[in-house]
Structure formats: structure tokens, C-alpha cells
């Protein structure tokens, strides 16, 4: 059956990407901006999981099941796990940078945090 349910995950992924980018563009606080970045990342989670989904498939654990049983694709799960690790690393690094930056500039507004200024 190809109905709206098949399209839904793709639409959700596109929506998360769009709204996340909108949030980053309009953000006035770097911590909020990092949150929006995680929303953008959420789009990749949903996309990958929907790519690997098989209707009626079991979890890819074949203990006490014949190997030919239809199962969801574990490769995309491995990709999502890697993606989670990447996201955690980058978020932690960004928060550390922002913490140091706040100590030096005393603000979190991206407009005020430009790297160099004209004399």
C-alpha cells in the first residue's frame, strides 16, 4: 500500500530540516542555535530510519527466527548510531566553545560574536 503513511517520514524529515535551518538563521542566542542544530540533525535520524524500515519486518535479531525472516535494515541503524555519536561530540564541543566565549565577550548573541572587527 502506498499511502500518505509512506510519505509521512520523508515529509517529517524535510520539515525538521527546514524548521531547524529557520531556527539557526533567526537565532539570537548561541545556546538556542545549538539546539536548532540538533533539530537539523533530527531530520537525518528520521530520514535514515525511514529508509531502513520494512513494513511487517521484525527487529534484526535472528535468535530463534529463520534468517530469511523479513527484518528492518540494521545498516541504517548503525548509521544513526554513528550519527548520534557525531552529534554528541559536536554539541559538547560547541557548548564548551560558547562557554569560553561567554566568559570573554559577556554575550551570547551571534550578532555580537563576530570574530574580527574593523578598527
Amino acid at each position: 500500500m502506498t499511502g500518505w503513511l509512506d510519505v509521512l517520514p520523508w515529509a517529517v524529515a524535510a520539515w525538521l530540516l527546514g524548521i531547524g535551518l529557520y531556527g539557526v538563521v533567526t537565532s539570537r542566542n548561541v545556546v538556542h542555535l545549538i539546539g536548532c542544530l540538533s533539530v537539523v540533525q533530527g531530520a537525518t535520524y528520521v530520514l535514515l530510519l525511514s529508509v531502513g524500515f520494512r513494513t511487517g519486518g521484525i527487529a534484526p535479531v535472528f535468535y530463534a527466527k529463520p534468517p530469511s525472516t523479513s527484518a528492518v535494515d540494521p545498516v541504517t541503524h548503525a548509521m544513526v548510531l554513528t550519527d548520534v555519536v557525531v552529534g554528541a561530540t559536536v554539541t559538547a564541543l560547541l557548548l564548551a566553545l560558547v562557554l569560553q566565549l561567554h566568559k570573554r565577550r559577556g554575550t551570547l548573541d551571534p550578532e555580537e560574536l563576530r570574530p574580527m572587527r574593523p578598527k
Binding site: 542555535l33 530520514l47 535514515l48 564541543l93 566553545l97 550578532e111 563576530r114 570574530p115 574580527m116
Partner: protein, 579 residues
């Protein structure tokens, strides 16, 4: 050890040593980490050269854990070492060696942390060049990015931290898009092996999902390659990172974005006509825009490292033009130019590092005449500027000739003046700064006075002759390898799958016009008060609004940059709608 078992080592070796250094760095004597890191990079360079020799007759494919494909179905992860990948990897390891030598004693206070990050950085770059699996490529891309982010903000001062935040946000969005593209490619092909995906896509009917996969992957790599309109993070990051790190950033990291896109295009998308059409049109346009914008912005800078950063945007644009032309001469030119530009830019950033250490800054207006005592560095910088401008000698010139030949073969003769503009404006900017800093010329600053700058200093108690030697070595390498790598680059391009078009060699007029344009611009920058008043007034009238709007767009606020990224995505969508 045979070449067939060698592929994992140039990546696994430095990763293991980085781990050991992190664990035991404190127990080592003061120069211990320097020595170990240098030996590691030398070892990796040797291994990559062996791989390149082994790959001369055809790619070496290594399946990790013995997971070879069965019935044509690739489940495992492979390194697919071709001549281009192994040569670029050797170049990377060589550049890291000379950079670590240049950084000798720079990072004393922090034990081995700098070296750990640099080894991680190098291992991920080499992995990026050698891998045959597209998700594995993403992982190396990401490791490379994280190492780069932390190296940028290393100084923990306000400007480096801000630059690192802009760099991180832009590149992270880029890598998420890249990953989304991989997901779509996997949905179509059911495999992550580049060669398998390529076979499936070539036999599948045209599908918007394949187009979308290309758009997302290309955007991710073009953010890394800092091409218009995704380039805004680059000057922020390269200008504030420690000089040895900037050497690597501008020397090879940015160009790897284009190299990755080249590998992806040839391995996966040659059988998709819509993607090829967009490559030949939109990517060509973006490359040309980068050449022009980067060149113009370089001329407007007073902060030397920021100037060099914009020059990198411009010259990387030439690489993208080579990819967009896509024939054998174009790809061979891309590979040669990548090496030539990387070496010249490395030398120039090392001269900037020398100025930061010995003169306490890189602002050309404040440093006017202060470089007289260290004039040999000025000679190196002038040579670097002339090579950037396209002087008809050395690797850069070889690459540019090939690119020009490809442009002519494709009937795009209008690209030649674009090349001359990019080369001339970036070379001119460097020559102007050289004249001002090392000869005390140009007492009246021009329009560059209004551009952003920063007070800074790098660790000073390092030996000037030694640093200078490190900066001169890459320049000598560029000159000594003149006309020696053309054959290698051509064979690498053929192995990637580029076909030859009949082209005619380009006369050396192109090279000389670049140099002449550079000298004209440098002369105008230094002696503009001597111009007749009406000429000066007209020039100001014409240049001011253009310069002001360009500077306005490069705002320094990351939110604006992401808005431009969305514009870039829209451009791609429009291009696919039109073909």
C-alpha cells in the same frame, strides 16, 4: 609487506600513536611529542608513496575483516586506493611533516595535545582519500571536521573562539546534509560501496531521489571546500587559527572538499545525466563566482591571514572549475593545481606565522616597514605572491595550463580571463602586503583600511632561520617539481574515469597577464596617491560601492551564513528543475 595489505596502516598507525600520545604524553621529555609526531607523519608519507606505486596499474581494494562482496553484494567496508587518492594522501602526509617541523616548540605548554589533534586530523584526511565506502567517507569527513574545530579555537581567545563557532556550525550543517544524501543514495542502491552505488544508479531510470542525493552530498562537500555561497566561514576560521593549523586548512583541508566531490562524481554519478548536466553548468558557475569573489575580497583585506584565506577561496574555485569541465586535462589540472597551490599557500601562511612570532601581528598597515630586519622572509613572500599570480614556472603553472587547456577544449575561452583575474588579484594582494611590510612602501592606505583586523601575537622564542627554512622548502618543492607530475596527474585522472578531449596548449600569455595584473594591482595599492586626481576619483567612485557591499555581505554573523547556505540549496534545486 605487500601493497595489498598496506591500505589500513596509514590511517590506523597515526590513530594508534595519537591514542598512546594522549595517554602517555606527560611522561615524555619536552620535545618527545614533537619527535614522535614527526616520525609518524614521515612513516605515513612513506606508506602512501608505496601505495601510490602499487596503485599505478590499477586500484588496490582492501576489504576490512575479509568481508569481500559475495554475489556482487558488498556488505563490508573497503578502502579503494587509486593513484589519485594515494598521491593526494602522500601530499597530505608531506605537508603535515613540514608543518610539524614549523610548529617545533610552538605548543610547549600543552604537552602533547596539539600533536594528538594533528595526528587525528592527518589520519582522517588520509582515510577520506583512500576509502571506497561512502558512509566511511562521511565518518572521516566528520573526524577531520572535529579535529579542525578544536584546533581553530585552540587559543581560547575571543576571536578564535568566535571563528571556531562559525566554522563548527556551518560545517556541521554541511555534514548533516552530506549524511542525508548518503541515506538517499542507500535507499536507491541498497549499498554504501561507491562502486556498487555507481553501477545501480547508471542502470536505474532517472529519479529525483538520485538528484537529491547528489545535491545534499555536493552541498556538504562544497561547504567544506568553501565555495560561494557556502564560503563565509573560511576567512573567519583561517584568519584566527594558529598559523601551523592555517597551513593545513588552506594547504589541503579545503581542497579535499573538491577532491571528495570529484571522487564521488566519478564513482557514483557519471551514469546520471541530470547530475552531469548540473555539474557542467551550476558547479562551473559556482567555481567562477568563487574565483572572482575570493580574489576581490583578498584585495580588500589588511589582515594578512584573512587575505590569504580569501585567496584560498579563489584558488579552490579554480579546482571546482576543473571538476566542472571534467575531462582528462581538467581533472589532471585539478590534481596538479591542488598540490601546487597547497604548497605555495603553506609557505605564505608560514611567513605569516613568522610575522606573528617576530613582529607581533599580521596587519599590513600597522606592520609597515617593520619587516625590514627579517627581509629574507619578505623574499619568500614575494616569490609566493608571484607564484599565486601565475608566474610561468612551477607546479601551479602546470596545473593552470592544464585547466586552461580543458577550458579551451570545452569551448569556454571566457574562463581564461577569469583565471587571470583570480590569480592576479590574489597575487597582487600578497605583493602589496609584501611591499608594505618588508620595504615600507605605501604610507597611505587605500580601501583596505576599513577591513576587520585583530591584535595578536604567537610564541616568539623560536629560531627565525629554522622557521624560514620550513617556509622555503614548500616553495622549492613547487619549483623543483615543475613539469614532473603532469604524467602522474594524467594517469590518475584516467584511473578516476576522466576521458580526454582534444585540446590545444594555451600560450604563456595567460600566465604573464596574471603576473602583469598582479603587479598593476600591487602598484596601484601602494602608490595610489600619485595617480592623477580624476583617475583616482573615478576609481573610487567605481570601487567603493562594490567593496562596501562585498564587505557588508561577509558580516561575521553565523546566522547570515546559514541563510546563504539555504540560498545555495535553492540554486541547486532550480538548476535541477531547469535541466
Amino acid at each position: 609487506m605487500t601493497a595489498a595489505l598496506l591500505p589500513p596502516w596509514p590511517v590506523a598507525g597515526p590513530l594508534a600513536i595519537a591514542g598512546l600520545l594522549l595517554a602517555g604524553g606527560r611522561l615524555l621529555p619536552r620535545r618527545g611529542p614533537d619527535v614522535i609526531a614527526l616520525l609518524t607523519t614521515l612513516g605515513v608519507a612513506a606508506a602512501c608513496i608505496l601505495l601510490a606505486i602499487g596503485a599505478a596499474d590499477g586500484p588496490i581494494v582492501y576489504w576490512f575483516g575479509g568481508w569481500t562482496p559475495r554475489d556482487g553484494q558488498a556488505i563490508g567496508i573497503s578502502f579503494r586506493v587509486d593513484l589519485a587518492g594515494a598521491s593526494v594522501a602522500s601530499f597530505i602526509a608531506g605537508l603535515f611533516t613540514i608543518t610539524l617541523a614549523f610548529a617545533w616548540g610552538y605548543f610547549d605548554e600543552v604537552h602533547a595535545h596539539f600533536h594528538v589533534l594533528m595526528l587525528l586530523f592527518m589520519a582522517s584526511m588520509v582515510g577520506f582519500c583512500l576509502t571506497g565506502d561512502v558512509f566511511n567517507m562521511f565518518v572521516w569527513f566528520e573526524v577531520m571536521s572535529v579535529a579542525a574545530f578544536s584546533l581553530t579555537g585552540y587559543e581560547l581567545k575571543a576571536s578564535p573562539l568566535s571563528g571556531a563557532v562559525n566554522f563548527t556550525v556551518m560545517n556541521t550543517i554541511g555534514s548533516y546534509l552530506f549524511l542525508g544524501g548518503i541515506g538517499l543514495a542507500y535507499a536507491l542502491a541498497g549499498s554504501l560501496d561507491m562502486a556498487s552505488i555507481g553501477r545501480v544508479l547508471a542502470n536505474a531510470p532517472a529519479s529525483p531521489i538520485a538528484d537529491a542525493a547528489f545535491v545534499l552530498m555536493a552541498t556538504g562537500l562544497l561547504v567544506k571546500a568553501a565555495q560561494v555561497p557556502f564560503h563565509f566561514w573560511l576567512p573567519d576560521a583561517h584568519a584566527v587559527a594558529p598559523s601551523p593549523v592555517s597551513v593545513i586548512f588552506s594547504g589541503v583541508m579545503v581542497a579535499l572538499g573538491i577532491f571528495g566531490l570529484t571522487r564521488l562524481s566519478f564513482a557514483m554519478f557519471t551514469g546520471v545525466p541530470a547530475v552531469m548536466a548540473v555539474t557542467h553548468t551550476l558547479l562551473l558557475g559556482l567555481g567562477v563566482a568563487s574565483v572572482v569573489v575570493g580574489g576581490a575580497m583578498a584585495l580588500l583585506q589588511r589582515h594578512l591571514k584573512r587575505m590569504l584565506a580569501f585567496s584560498t577561496v579563489s584558488h579552490t574555485g579554480m579546482l571546482l572549475v576543473g571538476l566542472a569541465l571534467g575531462d582528462r586535462a581538467g581533472i589532471a589540472g585539478l590534481l596538479t593545481y591542488l598540490a601546487g597551490h597547497g604548497l605555495v599557500k603553506a609557505a605564505l601562511f608560514m611567513v605569516a606565522g613568522i610575522l606573528l612570532a617576530l613582529c607581533g601581528g599580521v596587519d599590513e598597515i600597522e606592520l609597515r616597514g617593520k619587516g625590514r630586519q627579517i627581509w629574507p622572509a619578505g623574499v619568500a613572500m614575494a616569490v609566493g605572491g608571484l607564484l599565486l599570480a601565475g608566474a610561468p614556472i612551477g607546479l601551479m603553472d602546470d596545473g593552470l595550463s592544464s585547466l586552461a587547456e580543458a577550458a579551451k577544449a570545452a569551448g569556454n575561452v571566457w574562463l581564461l580571463p577569469v583565471f587571470a583575474f583570480g590569480a592576479g588579484s590574489t597575487g597582487g594582494a600578497v605583493l602589496r602586503a609584501t611591499g608594505r611590510i618588508f620595504a615600507g612602501l605605501g604610507p597611505v592606505a587605500g580601501i583596505e583600511e576599513q577591513s576587520p583586523t585583530e591584535q595578536e601575537q604567537e610564541k616568539a622564542d623560536r629560531s627565525f632561520p629554522f622557521m624560514l627554512v620550513c617556509a622555503v622548502v614548500p616553495l622549492l618543492a613547487v619549483l623543483a617539481t615543475s613539469h614532473r607530475v603532469d604524467g602522474l596527474a594524467e594517469r590518475a585522472a584516467v584511473q578516476l574515469g576522466a576521458v580526454a578531449h582534444k585540446g590545444a596548449p594555451v600560450s604563456s600569455l595567460l600566465a604573464w597577464s596574471g603576473v602583469a595584473f598582479a603587479l598593476l594591482l600591487a602598484g596601484t595599492g601602494l602608490w595610489h596617491p600619485a595617480l592623477p586626481r580624476p583617475v583616482l576619483k573615478t576609481a573610487k567612485f567605481l570601487v567603493r560601492p562594490l567593496a562596501a557591499s562585498l564587505s557588508y555581505v561577509h558580516s561575521g554573523a553565523v546566522c547570515d551564513y546559514v541563510a546563504w547556505l539555504v540560498v545555495g540549496l535553492a540554486l541547486f534545486t532550480a538548476a535541477f528543475a531547469l535541466v
